[in-house]
Every structure is written in C-alpha cells, then in structure tokens.
C-alpha cells in the first residue's frame, strides 16, 4: 500500500536487467525504449525528478497540460488524500505554451527523453491555436490533447463527455499538426468506446486513458469541502480498475489503435495489468508523488518480472488477457 512496502520489492540493479527482454513499444509511428511514461501534470518540468534519477531512463515524459495563456490556478487546499487515492484541483497552473517552449522544452530535449506535449484549450479554437503554435516546433515526439478539461462554450462540461465536441477539439489539432496526436479521455462517460471512436475518426493516432474521475470529499467536523474548488479529480490506486476497464473496452473495439494507459499504476504488476488490458504504453502519475523514484523502479523492475515468467517482449503481452 505504501511506498515503504513498494521499496522492498525493488531488486538490485544487476538483477533488474536480464538479457533478452525487449521493453520497446510502439505508439503508432513512435517507438519508445520502454513502456513507462510520466503522466501529464505529475512530472512538472522534468528537472524536479531529475534530482533523483536521469529522466531519460523513462520511455517518455508527458508534460503538464499547457494552455495558450499562463494560468495561476486555483486557491489551496488543492489536494485531499482519500482511501487509496487523492483528489486534486490544481486548475491547470502552467506557464503557458510560449514560456514552456522557451524555458522547459530545451531542457527536456537536452536530457534526451522523448517528450509528449500535452495541450488544453478552453475552446475548440484554442486547441487549434495551440496546435498552430506547435507546428514549427522541433523535438516533441507526439501531442496529447487533454480534452478532459472544461469547454467554456459548453457550460464548462469537458470536451470528452460528448462525441461531437470530442471530434471538433481533436480535429482542430490533427488538421494542422503532422505529429501523432493522442486524445486524453475522461472515464466519466457512459460509453468510452464511442468517445474513443469519435477521437479516432477526427484523426487521432490513439487515445490516453484515463484522466482523473470527478470526486468530492467533505471535512465533516468543519462541514466544509476539503478542496477549495469543492470538487476535484480522483487519482491513484483507487481508480485503477476503472482504467483497466476503459483500456480493455477501447482496445477490444479498436485493437490496432495505440493506447496510453494510466490510472493508479504503482507496481510492475499494475503496468502489466494495463498492458494485458490493451495499453501500448503506461503512464504513471500519483505514484511519483508517493515515491519520486516510482517510475524508475518500474523501468528497473519490469524486465525481471517478465523474464521470471518466461516473457521476452512486453509488446507481446498487449491485449493478451484471455476472455
């Protein structure tokens, strides 16, 4: 449950690299050295975690969602721990795309880690403007369109709650960009497959599943919401079954489409679970809060886990759950 028990399963370095296990995975046209990615909003600029290990050990880093204008975000408290998870309401605090391009992207490229740029618009037009601003930018391997953020033209409901708004937001990006585009979807919909199909039809290379689930917690003594923003997004092990289900359903419907799976991944077995459900690669968010070494531990631990079970390639396990 805690990082305390997590650290005990870390094997030493020599043991962690058995020969003959192929960790490489494909996200459409992009090949990554391993399937462990940092999830958006959970890795800041990259420099913070590079204090603990070389971030180029990761398959890729998905950066915090960037908006056209800088955002200061919401008041505190911005987080509340809940059973086996946490709620957050950060409000997409970020320096804005321009400043990120100037200050943070060069560092990531210099560090040599494949970088996936996450973008978030308030409107369909803003998604288009963000994509145009990225058109001549060299370096990122893909774009993640965070369409599970509020659409100010639709009473702040998230783009990814409807097929039409999903299609419009994704199309605004794929129309202008040559990079692979992954649409990041919310699990809080009745039919995730229909939303994923709408994203695919609008030109998305693949989808990222799942964003946080909307939630709320109340301080019963003070009769106040525990988050300043009242509601927030639930992440961590508490949502892992939701993520496994969403990935499984979408992979079943569109077996060839790449999927970045995420939600509550903490252990090597959790990575394998999402891959078996159909994820091409697996992103890790909240586990990095629990343990700054979490993503590296997974990269180190995965080959040994696979080798001990006679597997030679992680990609071979994709969607390999029997049913």
């Amino acid at each position: 449950m805690t990082s305390g028990s997590q650290s005990q399963q870390v094997v030493d370095v020599a043991e962690a690299r058995p020969a003959g296990v192929d960790l490489s995975v494909d996200l459409g046209p992009v090949t990554l050295a391993n399937p462990v990615l940092a999830a958006s909003g959970c890795f800041a600029s990259g420099r913070e975690i590079d204090r603990f290990f070389d971030v180029d050990r990761l398959g890729a880093v998905i950066v915090k969602s960037l908006t056209l204008e800088p955002r200061g975000g919401l008041p505190t408290p911005r987080m509340a721990e809940t059973p086996s998870g946490m709620l957050n309401a950060i409000g997409l605090q970020n320096p804005g795309l321009d400043r990120w391009l100037a200050e943070d992207l060069p560092w990531l490229l210099d560090a040599g880690v494949p970088t996936i740029v996450s973008i978030a618009g308030n409107t369909v037009d803003e998604f288009g403007a963000l994509a145009r601003a990225l058109r001549r930018v060299r370096g990122p391997v893909a774009v993640e369109a965070n369409i599970s953020c509020p659409n100010v033209e639709d009473r702040d409901r998230v783009f990814a709650c409807r097929q039409d708004t999903t299609g419009e937001a994704v199309r605004a990006v794929t129309d202008v960009l040559h990079l692979p585009v992954f649409a990041k979807l919310s699990p809080d919909v009745p039919d995730i497959v229909a939303i994923a199909e709408a994203a695919r039809a609008a030109g998305a290379t693949g989808v990222s599943l799942v964003n946080t689930l909307p939630g709320m917690a109340i301080d019963v003594e003070r009769r106040r919401p525990r988050l300043a923003a009242v509601t927030g997004g639930l992440s961590g092990p508490a949502i892992r079954p939701v993520a496994v289900r969403a990935v499984h359903q979408v992979h079943r419907a569109m077996p060839l489409m790449p999927i970045i799976g995420m939600g509550g991944v903490r252990t090597v077995a959790d990575v394998v679970e999402l891959v078996l459900a159909g994820a091409s690669a697996v992103a890790v968010g909240t586990a990095t809060f629990v343990n700054p070494m979490a993503t590296l531990d997974l990269v180190e631990g995965l080959p040994g886990w696979l080798a001990a079970r006679g597997h030679t390639s992680v990609a071979d396990l994709r969607g390999a759950v029997s049913s």
């Binding site: 449950m1 204090r51 290990f53 200061g72 505190t76 950060i90 560090a111 092990p237 909240t286």
Partner: protein, 299 residues
C-alpha cells in the same frame, strides 16, 4: 546524460541520489520518545543527514489501510553525526499518518525522502536574530539557532503555544539564546497572549535585525507584518498541504510577490522558507476564509 546515476546503500537499505539534492533512503528508527504532546523520532538516514540544512524538511512514507501519500516534517535535529548520521523529527499526533509514525519502535524501517525545500539563510547584514516559533513550529528553529550562533550571531527566541504543555524547544532555546521569551494563550507559562503581543517588546529589547519564524500560517502572517512594518527582514517556513513534497504536483502553492508579479510558488520547492514580506498574506487570508477567487497571477 549517462546511465544509472544512483547508489544502492546496503547499510541504510536504499539510498539513491546525487551528491547534492534530495535522496530517497530507507532509514532505521533509533529512538522514539514523548515530548509533552509531541513525539520525537530519531531516524538513521545518513545520506539525508549529511545534506540537511535548517528549515528543510523530509517526507516520510506512512503505512495504513487507506493512506497513500507521504507526510512532511521539518528536520528538528541531527543525531549521531557525521557517520551513521540520523535526523530528528518532532510531530503532533493528528491523523492516521502521525499515529502510525508515533507507533514506530527502535530498529523499525522508515522510508524517508529529503532534504526537501529551501533552507533558512543567514541575514543579509550581521545582526541579532529573533527566532519565533509557534507550537511544533519551533521544531526547525533550534537547529537554525545553533547554526546562527556558529556564525557568531546573537540569537533570541520567542516561543508561543496555546498552553504550557504544547511549548516545544524552550530548554534547547535557553541553551543557545541570549534571551528566551515565552507566551501561552491561557497564561499557563510566560506571558499570556500570542507571540505577536510580545514581539515588538522583544525586538526593541534585543535590537533584532532579522526575524525567522515557523508555526501556524496565521501566526506567520502576523509575524511577517510586524517585522515588515519595522523594515526588519523576515524569513518564514510555511506549511501547506502537500501531495508530493518534491515539486511535481503543484498542490502546495503560496501566492508570492516576485519582481514580475504575484505568482503561486511551490512551498515544497521554492519554500518552505520564503521571504515573509513577499508572501501575499491578504490573498491567503481570503483563501483561508473559503474565498474562491484567485488574484491575477503570473505562474
């Protein structure tokens, strides 16, 4: 960047990191004792211990059926240094995490990440220093007081709490300080009232030219305003609810006046020690009152 740049420390369990900056390390509890309502835990964590400076904190993994996140604590002391060095934390038992920690015994393993955040820094000009602590907020101040004394600076303490039993560090303070002034809200020890009631007098009596404070956020606001009102530089160690402690989640922000405008800075990375004159206390007070609006910010 080159390959594996970390160490595996057989002695301490696991410590992987660089020569500078924070590490993750499995520490070993060497002692646990009650200090009034608080628990003092001595944890051998040599890689953290050699790096830590006054005002920095550690985040400790806690176990429990439903807990997930680490808990942040100021480092209050260094033990057994330099080799086999330990760190001390002093904490109040509040919820599941601190209850679990208070139950640790000698030789139990405790997973620690640290040192985290920016430490206190020496005053811009050599001057007598006033260290103001509220409740367990006195924790990092004794370490700071010793460091300032080693630099040849005069140190005075002003320590407050709700009641006598909740005062922390008074005896340690008396060992290093020129003067130690105590306030309690119920008058059970020292002057009746809160630290800011006594602060003007203490500043006058000692000619203090720098203020350092740690304690509840409303106290830091009041202390900062008194110091700033007199033009005395003031450093405060702030406390915000933290999910990661290492700068990646943006949950711990404090509105802060930078040269280019007010920005929400991360308490765990840009703090916890901040310039009290630059913290945007009026905005924070609206947040504490449940005000939902954020000011125009430069992230």
């Amino acid at each position: 960047m080159s390959g594996a740049a970390y160490r595996v420390s057989a002695a301490a369990g696991r410590a992987r990191g660089r020569d500078e900056g924070p590490v993750q390390e499995t520490g070993e509890v060497m002692g646990s004792r009650r200090v009034g309502p608080y628990t003092l835990l001595d944890v051998v964590a040599p890689h953290v211990a050699v790096r830590v400076l006054p005002g920095q904190f550690v985040s400790v993994a806690v176990d429990g059926p439903e807990t997930l996140l680490r808990r942040p604590f100021s480092v209050s002391g260094i033990s057994g240094a330099p080799a086999g060095g330990g760190i001390e934390i002093v904490f109040e038992t509040l919820g599941p995490g601190t209850v679990w920690l208070a139950g640790r015994d000698r030789h139990d393993a405790v997973d620690v990440v640290g040192p985290l955040g920016r430490p206190f820094t020496a005053p811009p000009e050599p001057a007598p220093c006033l260290l103001v602590g509220g409740g367990y907020g006195a924790a990092p101040l004794v370490l700071l007081g010793r460091t300032l004394r080693e630099r040849g600076l005069r140190v005075d303490f002003l320590l407050g709490a709700a009641t006598q039993s909740r005062l922390l560090g008074v005896m340690d303070a008396k060992r290093i300080a020129g003067t130690t002034t105590v306030t309690t809200e119920d008058g059970s020890a020292g002057r009746a009232g809160i630290v800011t009631d006594a602060m003007e007098d203490v500043l006058d009596a000692n000619g203090s030219g720098a203020v350092y404070a740690c304690g509840p956020m409303p106290m830091l606001a009041a202390v900062s305003e008194v110091a700033a009102g007199r033009g005395v530089p003031v450093q405060v160690a702030v406390e915000e609810s933290m999910a990661c402690g290492v700068g990646v989640c943006w949950s711990c922000v404090v509105p802060y006046r930078r040269d280019d405008g007010v920005a929400n800075v991360r308490a765990c990375l840009d703090g916890p020690v901040l310039d009290g004159a630059r913290v945007d206390w009026p905005t924070l007070r609206t947040w504490w009152a449940g005000g939902a609006q954020s000011p125009e910010l430069t992230p």
